[in-house]
Symmetry: C2
Subunit: 289 residues, 2 copies
């Protein structure tokens, strides 16, 4: 009997973990959970405390509980400082491997953008950094930003919208903007279906690589066309600033400081999302756990 | 003391669940887990049995354990029949909403492809259906197939490679093929970096929408150029067959049978991945759990 109760509790805890992980950010009412599991609210509160410890120790975020009769619990995705630092240091090592240097001073990143293990932690870092800004939707422009957008989406539990480069979209009426690519000094286009973003939505702008910042600025403009609000911007890798940036306040995961194609060396450091990750900054949420 | 032991066990079980979920398909040695948790192998075996029940009941796959001194455990992602059927019925309802009909007989699906809750279950269904073919890498062509590819990737724990439509890729030497789009009767192009797929890799081909099948056939050709092997093909939605298909054996999640733009009706049913999902078929893995 004692053993059975013990087993039941273990199983309930694991099931509760799955349920919370499946829908990050969603608040589950304590009363509803108590009915689902046929358990007392007090036992569930105890379960949630244990789970919080487990999640924090694993470095994947925390569980927030709200007290009272209408009390509930939700999984707040995030990442511990230790896990984030280990991750970004491995990433910097990866990014600076000389065989990544491509003609024209580009860096081969596609393999990293294809790996679900990397994207999972990227998503957690984005979720932690933008926890306080209450994102409704993640916006990117095809193609290479898409993996980063989905990484954020899976962690935040919020949808992705993808702006297209060509106007050849069979998606009804479009909103199209032309913008200046700051690095290539050429006019580029991005289009999005009129129904893709709701008025007033809080939009996180995401891309794979930041050069001059033209694409991010283009996204900001596109968001305004929808009467929505850009609440943050994130890139996987930030390149050398070169002849300056047309946007400020873009959080990056890795910052490439120098690419020397002749010497075949890349120098990189952890990106701005880390240097800003302190309580007094807008990215203060990152390492609260 | 008894209580403390109970708590410790609950926490261990939840932590084990997180660990297994994080790396689908990876085998963890029982000995290693026992050392990590400072627990006896017999207790861990018991934990794994409980977790297996919890995973099966949640309908998200199972835990396989191998016995013996070198024994281990791994999370095999999948989906229960009940969960898959509920999911696909909701999806069919969504897809057939009249406001999805676009000029030219197209169907607006981008919002569905943007939703992480939908993509999670899509990934589980793909993982279940292709469990027996041992996928190394998931291939898609930009743009709309990419979310489906990442859904599969997150569930399977395997990387994604994305073929590009234009040759303007800064990724070193490319493999490019031209192929005939069976539906639009035009020549199209797909390119992939020479380093993107290893020789002999087992490749799952993924796209959002199947019309004539030209794109899937193009991907098959591309895979052969890498001396790799296409081990399966999956699309989110299969359109009306119209004037025939140039490929066979593509698994689909939803099958649109008819789009009547004038009457503003779409007729759809669960796709071929379900009709084939029986033990005697290649998709037999789908509903074993």
């Amino acid at each position: 009997m004692a053993k059975e109760a013990k087993l039941r509790r273990s199983a309930r805890l694991a099931d509760l973990a799955l349920r919370l992980l499946e829908e990050p950010g969603r608040t589950f009412s304590l009363g509803q959970l108590a009915r689902t599991y046929g358990a007392a609210k007090s036992s569930l509160s105890e379960d949630l405390s244990i789970l919080r410890e487990v999640f924090l120790r694993a470095g994947i975020g925390t569980i927030e509980t709200s007290p009272g009769a209408a009390g509930g619990a939700r999984y707040v995705p995030g990442i511990s400082r230790e896990r984030a630092e280990n991750f970004v240091h491995r990433l910097v090592e990866e990014v600076t491997r000389p065989e990544r240097i491509l003609p024209g001073g580009f860096v081969y990143l596609s393999d990293l953008l294809g790996r679900p293990d990397i994207l999972r932690d990227v998503g957690r870092i984005v979720a932690a950094a933008f926890a306080s800004v209450d994102v409704d939707v993640v916006l990117t422009v095809e193609t290479k930003g898409i993996p980063i957008a989905y990484a954020a989406s899976f962690a935040l539990g919020k949808p992705v919208v993808i702006a297209r480069r060509d106007g050849q979209i069979t998606e009804g009426s479009l909103v199209t903007i032309n913008y200046l690519s700051a690095s290539s000094r050429s006019i580029r286009t991005m289009s999005l279906s009129r129904r893709a973003i709701a008025e007033g939505a809080r939009v996180l702008l995401v891309d794979d690589f930041l050069r001059g910042g033209g694409t991010i600025r283009g996204m900001q403009e596109l968001v305004r066309e929808f009467r929505a609000e850009g609440v943050g911007a994130f890139v996987f890798v930030e390149g050398p600033a070169g002849s300056g940036r047309v946007v400020e306040d873009v959080a990056s995961l890795v910052k490439v400081e120098e690419i020397d194609a002749d010497a075949r060396t890349i120098r990189a450091v952890p990106g701005s999302i880390f240097s800003r990750a302190w309580p007094s900054s807008p990215w203060g949420g990152l390492f609260q756990i």
